[in-house]
């Protein structure tokens, strides 16, 4: 694998490592938000009907 250390290298996408990191951060943030929402939604669903019983 090529090294990931050269900060100025433009990869085939047209992105540098720093730029793809910024993009990646949005994906990760999105995943975190989804996770938090699903935990809370499950909690509320449990309160209404404990595992559909």
């Amino acid at each position: 694998m090529d090294n990931l250390d050269d900060p100025n290298r433009v990869w085939p996408t047209g992105l540098t490592i720093k730029e793809s990191e910024a993009l990646h951060r949005h994906v990760i943030d999105g995943a975190r938000v989804f996770f938090a929402i699903s935990v809370f939604a499950h909690l509320l669903a449990y309160i209404y009907s404990p595992w559909l019983k």
């Binding site: 694998m1 990931l4 990869w11 085939p12 996408t13 047209g14 992105l15 490592i17 720093k18 730029e19 793809s20 990191e21 910024a22 993009l23 990646h24 949005h26 994906v27 943030d29 999105g30 938000v33 989804f34 938090a36 929402i37 699903s38 809370f40 939604a41 509320l44 669903a45 309160i47 209404y48 009907s49 404990p50």
Partner: protein, 465 residues
């Protein structure tokens, strides 16, 4: 960086640019298809609004048996978030990212928040109604969860709408903005009307399971539409280290600079007064038709359609006139005059006992509101100072949404107050409505007066001479 992140990074950089959400290098003119795609955000905004204000309003009271006061509080919560539109707009103006993005991150986050609110909402409402096993838990859980979900949806709607209007301003030149504004308004109306019909149909046989399906389905549609809308809208702008490190103006500084602009304060006052004037009759329309003119439920529902139809006529006329070079503010002023005419017709309908006159008045009010809304939004875009499109559109939206919410509340309160103190006894049950409609005429006159110094002769800026 841990190894999983590193693998993911390699995947990102290995993908072709076709699969990345960046626009192609900026072209001279953004194609209509791209603007049409951008306006899909308005459809999801309309969907969320109609769900909260219309569909769930009824479902919570009738099917879930939640008290009307609590329901009204929940519905009012998103309006509290409206003033933050200015802050959101300003943050997006000054957002710094290595990708050079300003609007897309906010659009993405706003969409996530809106999705989150909608995903939680059905469970929150079911717990709030105390159904199932929820009655064994303290009441505040349901109240807090429902309040949270309404706030999240409201925050999402305010964020995405502000940023999408700012992005539309960035993408278009002055001569094309009237068309874009028309498109944005029409898409909002389309989203509202279509989803009202679909929600009504889907919830005809109400079950808790169906409620969950409908609201969470809305969440999925929202994230899909907004995803399609934001895809490849902003291009990758490589930032230099100096640009990344440059200090950004604070909110206070930005507002001060914005307020120094051409009659900024006067324009915002006009937007607030006018929107409130047009908004006060929103919730009174159907009761007035039913109570005073004795129309059936089916007929009063048609009134709402007539108002929307009038709005469409207004938007179409505004787009046409403005794209031929008329001044946006002059046209908005004309909209207030049209509105006065409409309200006069509605007032005259009660003593005349004429539903036809009433319907005509409602259509004229809709058209006036359309002209006014279109004109002020186009003006907000065109007068936005360089680099402050987000703040300009945020301020417009903050005033507009707050005034609309206030207008609805004031309209209802004013009618009830007029009824209880027994003003204008001679007019019978109509007097409460009369006072509201008369107030709206006065407000529209005030709006016209506030705007009149901003009018410019037509053809000042472009083609028409």
């Amino acid at each position: 960086m841990n190894s999983i992140s590193q693998k993911a990074m390699r995947a990102w950089v290995g993908l072709g640019p076709r699969f990345l959400p960046f626009a192609d290098a900026a072209s001279a003119e953004v194609p209509l298809s791209r603007l049409l795609r951008l306006s899909l955000v308005q459809v999801s905004v309309g969907m969320s609004l109609v769900l909260m204000v219309g569909t769930l309003n009824r479902v919570m009271i009738v099917e879930l048996g939640i008290s009307a006061g609590l329901v009204a509080t929940m519905i009012a919560l998103p309006v509290l978030f409206a003033p933050f539109r200015a802050l959101i707009g300003q943050s997006s103006d000054t957002h710094v990212s290595v990708l050079g993005w300003k609007r897309v991150p906010f659009l993405f986050n706003g969409t996530m928040v809106q999705f989150g609110g909608l995903a939680l909402m059905p469970f929150a409402l079911l717990v709030l109604s105390g159904g199932g096993a929820a009655k064994d838990y303290p009441v505040w859980i349901g109240q807090a969860a429902a309040a949270l979900s309404f706030l999240l949806v409201g925050a999402g709607v305010h964020t995405t709408q502000t940023v999408v209007l700012a992005l539309a301003t960035d993408l278009t030149s002055e001569d094309r903005r009237p068309k874009v504004v028309g498109l944005m308004y029409v898409m909002l109306l389309v989203g509202t009307i279509a989803s009202a019909l679909i929600f009504g149909h889907l919830l005809e046989e109400f079950t808790p399971g169906r409620l969950i399906q409908v609201i969470q389905g809305t969440a999925v549609v929202t994230i899909t539409l907004n995803g399609i809308a934001l895809w490849k809208q902003e291009s990758l702008k490589r930032m230099t280290a100096a640009e990344l490190a440059a200090p950004q103006p604070s909110f206070r500084d930005s507002v001060r600079r914005y307020m120094q602009g051409e009659a900024a304060r006067r324009r915002l006052v006009a937007v607030g007064l006018g929107t409130m004037a047009f908004g006060m009759q929103d919730v009174l329309l159907e009761p007035y038709g039913g109570e005073i003119l004795g129309l059936s439920v089916a007929d009063t529902t048609k009134l709402t359609a007539a108002l929307a139809g009038g709005g469409l006529i207004g938007f179409a006329a505004a787009s046409h006139v403005l794209s031929r070079g008329a001044d946006a503010f002059t046209m908005a002023g004309l909209g207030t005059l049209v509105g006065i005419l409409g309200f006069a017709g509605v007032i005259a309908a009660a003593p005349a006992g004429s539903p036809m006159l009433f319907a005509a008045g409602v259509i004229v009010i809709g058209a006036g509101g359309g002209l006014f809304g279109h004109g002020t939004l186009t003006a907000a875009m065109n007068y936005a100072p360089e680099g402050q499109a987000g703040l300009a559109l945020g301020a417009w939206g903050a005033i507009q949404a707050t005034a609309a919410g206030l207008g609805i509340a004031v309209g209802g309160l004013l009618r009830d107050a007029a009824m209880s103190i027994g003003a204008l006894e001679g007019l019978g049950a109509a007097r409460g409505y009369m006072i509201v409609y008369a107030t709206e005429i006065v407000l529209l006159l005030a709006t016209f007066a506030a705007m009149s110094s901003l009018f410019r002769p037509a053809g000042n800026q472009s083609t028409r001479g």
